[in-house]
């Protein structure tokens, strides 16, 4: 995909841009989430080594509040993974009857499912935002590390908003397929 050819018109060009943008956003978020996951792994290993040194009386100790950091990091990483899961449709579903359904029905179902997913994404993001406001108001902090919990919510919100954007793009993608515009080589229907 190196830009839409000129003869495909403006709409096609716009879709090409959106498609590439969605790919870049979802991929970047997933990779950043993965780096957070790797950071959690490194911190956990450092903490274990510190604890081992401590218990053998040498020095150091575990990282204070490592479990808190693990929890916050995991949430941020997993929210960041959602857009990629949506774009590549790695959701678990049962495709058993797909070959038995007429083609138009399958394409219609994909549109409905993608709209449902968009609804879910909006719901999760909006609730997460309200949850964050609650945490700011109550001033909740994590148990040991005393990190404000709303930081975790705020960082997770990035992934949740990405999920909304990608889910919206997926609706567009399946609608185009539904009305019969040929799309990228991969078959998402």
């Amino acid at each position: 995909m190196t830009g839409a050819p000129f003869y495909l018109g403006k709409g096609e060009f716009m879709y090409g841009v959106l498609s590439r943008l969605a790919e870049v956003i979802a991929r970047a978020m997933a990779i950043i989430g993965g780096i957070v996951l790797l950071a959690v792994i490194v911190l956990t290993c450092v903490s274990i080594i510190g604890r081992a040194f401590y218990s053998s009386g040498i020095c150091c100790g575990p990282i204070r509040g490592i479990y808190d950091y693990t929890e916050l990091g995991m949430a941020v990483a997993l929210f960041a993974f959602l857009p990629w899961c949506q774009l590549r449709n790695t959701h678990a579903s049962v495709d058993l009857f797909k070959p038995a359904f007429p083609d138009a029905m399958n394409r219609g179902l994909t549109v409905l499912v993608d709209i449902g997913m968009l609804g879910l994404a909006v719901l999760l993001a909006q609730r997460l935002y309200l949850g964050m406001l609650d945490k700011i108001n109550f001033g909740d902090t994590t148990f040991i590390a005393q990190v404000p919990v709303w930081w975790g919510y705020a960082a997770s919100l990035v992934g949740a908003v990405g999920f909304v954007l990608i889910a919206a793009f997926c609706v567009l993608r399946s609608l185009r397929l539904f009305i019969g515009i040929p799309t990228d080589s991969e078959d998402y229907a």
């Binding site: 991929r27 997933a30 990779i31 989430g33 993965g34 780096i35 996951l37 959690v40 792994i41 490194v42 956990t44 290993c45 903490s47 274990i48 479990y67 693990t70 929890e71 916050l72 995991m74 949430a75 990483a77 997993l78 929210f79 960041a80 993974f81 959602l82 990629w84 899961c85 590549r88 790695t90 959701h91 678990a92 579903s93 049962v94 495709d95 058993l96 009857f97 797909k98 399958n106 179902l109 994909t110 499912v113 449902g116 997913m117 879910l120 719901l123 999760l124 609730r127 997460l128 309200l130 949850g131 609650d134 975790g152 919510y153 997770s156």
Partner: protein, 443 residues
């Protein structure tokens, strides 16, 4: 409509949505949400709950073992360990009749000890062992069937992502479940090897044997798999002794397999990105289902269905063993069309309390472990049964010259050994439990 009727009606609605290709997470969340609305007459409680439920689920400390194990499996496939394991197994078994296929199964078992996913195990071992099997003249059916079956050892031998999810849903001890899975996993590997041996005797074919390898070289080949053994002992052993939490163990395992993949020279930035993306897709999928299952199950709990169901089955006078048989059979049937993970997430919250109400003459803890292993085996059979068996598709995709029909045929003997094993383990719970008892005796 009474609450109970509402709960009962939610099953066909949920199944209908799932068969209309609605992602399982979305279907469960939607039905749970709608059900809760009908019970309360307002969406307020559930909307309030959702303000913290998603973040709470995604940040749950015990759940975080799942993405870590998935990443560990991704790194393991890049560690080159699949090839070392296969060569080591071949040096021991290659000269026997059917030995190359047996080696592939043995190597799968070894790989299963550092990888908690069947699909990753099947894909990796398929790439290593399939060319070798074809070179020695194994028929496509046997070669692909053995590898698809061997792939299920990725889940059957701990660590295992499905067991982690079962442990969370049934509130079981992950450490003990891993120990309980060990012996049945080894029996599974032996069963597959036996199936190959019988196949070679019953059906004439031109598969050749390799020359016998002297013991010195066998030891050398075995020495090369030390990273697998080290990682397995540290992860599973460390969890059990209590050196670290299961989540910490999974982090250590991921770090260990990462180092192994760097040492093998196969890790680079683009492969790391691929490993992360694969982990991202699978983790997000699983967490969304956990979230959906949470919403759906809290709706069911509102209607008190699991509780009343358990009371009803408990007082109905059904033989516990008949109920167990029906439940396991149901898993086998559903396994033909559904993937194992969704099946466990969908059913265990409902089935487990009902089964627990039945008297099998053992403690609740023993029952939880034993039932978990039985469920694990029956859902894994689904990976190698047609029409929808993911392992069959993966191996068949690698073996381009073998028609899928041949692969279906090749998987049959292995499915048979699976069925025999389930009956055997169900009839004699002690086989699964004795290692747990034995180790508990020291604690």
């Amino acid at each position: 409509m009474s609450h109970i009727e509402l709960a009962l009606w939610s099953f066909p609605v949920l199944l209908g949505l799932v068969f209309l290709r609605v992602p399982i997470a979305l279907a469960m969340l939607g039905v749970g949400f709608g059900g809760a609305y009908l019970v309360y007459g307002t969406t307020l409680p559930i909307m309030n709950q959702l303000k913290s439920l998603t973040f709470g689920t995604f940040s749950n400390y015990s759940f975080s073992i799942i993405p870590l194990f998935l990443l560990m499996g991704q790194f393991a496939t890049l560690s080159g360990m699949s090839a070392s394991l296969f060569r080591a197994a071949e040096s021991f078994l290659g000269h026997k009749r059917g030995g190359v296929a047996m080696s592939a199964v043995g190597a799968c078992a070894g790989f299963g000890a550092i990888c908690g996913s069947s699909l990753a195990t099947a894909a990796t071992m398929g790439q290593v062992a399939l060319p070798e099997l074809r070179r020695y003249g194994y028929p496509g059916s046997l070669a692909t069937g053995a590898l698809a079956a061997g792939g299920t050892l990725g889940i059957l031998i701990p660590p295992s992502v499905i067991l982690v999810i079962y442990a969370i849903l049934a509130e079981q001890n992950i450490e003990k479940l891993f120990v309980a899975a060990l012996i049945p996993g080894l029996i599974a590997a032996l069963g597959y090897i036996l199936a190959i041996s019988v196949w070679m005797r019953v059906s004439p074919n031109d598969a050749q044997v390799r020359p016998r390898v002297p013991w010195g070289e066998r030891m050398k080949a075995l020495a090369l798999v030390w990273p697998v053994l080290t990682i397995f002992v540290v992860v599973v052993g460390g969890i059990y002794i209590g050196v670290f939490t299961p989540t910490e163990a999974a982090a250590v395992g991921a770090a260990g397999t990462f180092l192994a993949s760097v040492a093998s020279g196969q890790m680079n930035w683009s492969r790391l990105k691929q490993a992360i993306l694969a982990t991202a897709g699978a983790s997000a999928m699983i967490y969304l289902i956990i979230l959906g299952a949470g919403v759906y199950n809290s709706f069911l709990a509102l209607t008190q269905l699991p509780q009343l169901g358990a009371e009803w089955v408990g007082s109905s006078g059904f033989s516990p063993w008949v109920v167990l048989g029906v439940v396991l059979l149901m898993y086998l049937v559903f396994g033909c069309v559904m993937d194992s993970l969704s099946m466990v997430l969908l059913t265990v919250p409902i089935i487990y309390p009902i089964m627990l109400a039945l008297d099998f003459g053992m403690s609740p803890q023993d029952f939880g472990l034993w039932f978990g292993i039985l469920v694990l085996i029956v859902v894994e059979v689904g990976l190698i049964t047609p029409p929808v068996g993911m392992n069959l598709f993966i191996i068949n995709g690698i073996a381009r010259d073998t028609p899928i029909r041949e692969t279906y045929k090749g998987a049959l003997p292995f499915v048979l050994t699976d069925l025999v094993r389930v009956v055997f383990l169900a009839a004699f719970p002690a086989i699964t439990l004795w290692l747990v008892w034995f180790i508990d005796g020291f604690g």
